[in-house]
Symmetry: C2
Subunit: 302 residues, 2 copies
């Protein structure tokens, strides 16, 4: 059976795997990204990971990058976590070195493709994958294909304003949903309530009945619900898959999130709106990268 | 040259026209909708309009309905302005009577298709048509095709929340953008400022330098800008075409609308975002209906 190599590049580590045509992880590799050595060292590390994983069955490679990627060209416009990659033609440069077809996309898009293939979005034609991490990202699948938008920036759910004039955000705006419902947003809300705790600690405290901790998740859920309501109202795409490191907080957010959907989604019962958990965990990215690789190998980019 | 008949059904009047393959209006008809006579009378009126407009060149008919339409079946789930049409199989019933292929869709979608074909969205692959009327509606074109969503309800821009906990809306929610930036929303803001005026009167007053009238358009523009920012952030579709009866207010809203986009759209200069005027006026609906009719005649529904 043919294989693809999926490569998920973070600011600290490169995670890679050889994956078969049914989305099963066959072999794994992990290496420091080597950002301190510039674009050339990052390239070396990626090539070394691919060399360790490839086999005669390897058909193509897919690479997920945290940041702004021009697609389908696979040019990394900029990546806050990989500063040397600025207007860097990743697909062309790495394809030439590796000697395989290579496709490059934003990491949230790759994760959405992974969840669509074998995860929480399997069998769902259209959905949005929401990643609750340090920030909030999203990848959009419409009728089975990734939606990139006009310039590859689709899915900036994290900066949808849910509290006009509210908390200042690093983007220069105010009241962006990621200031409330991301891991850092929940830590911020907790700090305002006098709790210097991270999400797992807050969850433990809320589980023990602490009202201040519960209020953090209630507010996070209400704000996230407002942002998702904008999505449901605009697109009528009734499935949202939630993943990311702060996913364990979803259950604690759920009552207020559902309440916000009930108030803010027009003409639809919240029961008709699916907000479900991602199932691939940290492997969503590498699996989606492999899926993207199989797709370009079958049909070419685009 | 082949012709199609476009039929725009309102609560009071049916407007119809025979339209050629380049979107030109050849002949027009208008008749009272006859809602008081029930579904049967509305059908009679539509058939009479079609009979007056058809020619040997007539290929198909398209009908736009204000309300919730299941698509591609063309079943009107409900229409506040045409109460007798509840779970009414409009496409099938009217197709059988007229003896032509008939397609039925929501009126905002039909207007979007019209503006896409020969109006403000011509040559733009993806855009959202925003209709500023008594309420705020929207139709979404993605890669040249209407986006209907999972159940035909896509484009409920009017109920995107831009002021959490704000003005109560008929939908049961609070702070929906149409409570601020529609014709009725602007009248409401004016009344709060002690001005019992409609939009043209407010525009005249603002033009004469009245600060209270100017403040109404500033607030309407700011709120509309926040709703459009959610669209731009989520979809990265950088063109919005604005039409509807309150379109003349767009210019007065523009500075605050642009300001809100600048604050709330992530990573994009507002200069890269197009918010342009629709060009077909009241004909957008009938022209879009004709376009939809040509499309089903060419390719079948869907």
């Amino acid at each position: 059976m043919r294989e693809a190599i999926g490569i998920d590049i973070g600011g600290t580590f490169i995670k890679a795997a050889a994956i078969d045509g049914e989305g099963r992880v066959l072999r794994r590799a992990k290496a420091p990204t080597g950002v301190e050595g510039g674009a050339r060292l990052v390239e070396e590390r990626i090539c070394a990971a691919v060399d360790g994983l490839r086999s005669p069955a390897t058909a193509a490679a897919g690479i997920g990058v945290p940041g702004m990627v021009r697609w389908p060209e696979g040019v990394v416009a900029q990546s806050p976590n990989i500063p040397p990659w600025r207007d860097y033609p990743a697909a062309a440069a790495l394809g030439a070195r590796i000697g395989l077809p290579v496709t490059v996309d934003n990491d949230a898009n790759m994760a959405a493709l992974g969840e669509s293939w074998t995860g929480g979005g399997r069998g769902v034609a259209s959905f949005m994958l929401v990643t609750l991490g340090t920030g909030i990202g999203a990848g959009i699948v419409l009728e089975g294909r990734l939606w990139h938008g006009d310039t590859g920036r689709a899915g900036e759910l994290g900066h949808v304003v849910v509290d006009p004039g509210g908390a200042a955000c690093g983007c220069g705006g105010r009241g962006c949903v990621e200031r409330y419902a991301s891991a850092s947003g929940m830590r911020r809300l907790a700090a305002e309530a006098g709790l210097a705790l991270d999400v797992p600690e807050l969850l433990a405290l809320a589980g023990a009945g602490d009202e201040r901790a519960r209020a953090v998740f209630a507010e996070a859920g209400r704000r996230l619900g407002l942002a998702l309501a904008a999505w449901f109202n605009l697109m009528d795409v009734r499935c949202v898959v939630v993943g990311g490191g702060a996913l364990p907080a979803l259950e604690a957010m759920e009552p207020s999130l559902r309440g916000a959907l009930g108030e803010a989604v027009y003409g639809v019962s919240p029961r008709e709106l699916a907000v479900v958990e991602a199932t691939l965990g940290e492997d969503a990215g590498i699996i989606g990268c492999a899926r993207a690789a199989f797709l370009i190998e079958e049909t070419g980019p685009g």
